[in-house]
Symmetry: C2
Subunit: 118 residues, 2 copies
């Protein structure tokens, strides 16, 4: 079945809680709504892709900040510490291997349930 | 560096010739412009993701046709024969492992150079 991104985004409202919408081999496509500050974290075993579907966000890195708007994407290399941030709600598609936890090596109250499909 | 999809799309005009814009682990994100009929083909070893950035396209499958518009995506399962088609020019992002050839098992005049970055 085809997947409509805006339709899937209309099905949830919580922030920082990625929802799986598709799988390709052992990779997953996830939608997430961001607002405010996330935690610094890294993923030791994998790169992670952010694609902005609507709104704007920032990704802080140790050597600077990447600002992303609708239609822009960024690959966070594996092992690189990053902190996502969005002043206003931003809708994002993530692409990463099945099993990746949102907070990587910094588990805490922002750690979301994994592998939740919508 | 961040990647702006529309900016990258402005850098080429030929049809059916995917350009790599990013890598995540051993996977590639590619942009392609489609118009007219492609060939029936399949990829024996991998699923393939189509995400429509602008315009509309169809993917014919043996058991029906998927119609995709801007903001919609579809995963063609590995080994499944498919024929992309676009009446008017359609701009698409593909996600698939590095090394996948556009025409899969049906090499011919529409087979594009692989691993061309923009």
């Amino acid at each position: 079945m085809k997947i409509n991104l805006k339709e899937k985004l209309s099905l949830f409202s919580e922030h920082w809680s990625p929802k799986v919408i598709a799988e390709m081999n052992d990779y997953q496509f996830k939608l997430v709504k961001l607002q405010g500050d996330f935690v610094w974290h890294s993923h030791a075993d994998t790169d992670e892709v952010f694609i902005v579907i609507e709104g704007a966000m920032k990704i802080e890195l140790s050597d600077g900040t990447v600002e992303l708007s609708e239609g822009e994407m960024f690959v966070v290399p594996k092992g690189v510490a990053h902190k996502p941030y969005a002043e206003e709600e931003c809708k994002v598609m993530l692409v990463e291997p099945r099993g990746v936890v949102n907070t990587g090596d910094s588990k805490g109250k922002l750690t979301a349930s994994n592998d939740v499909w919508i």
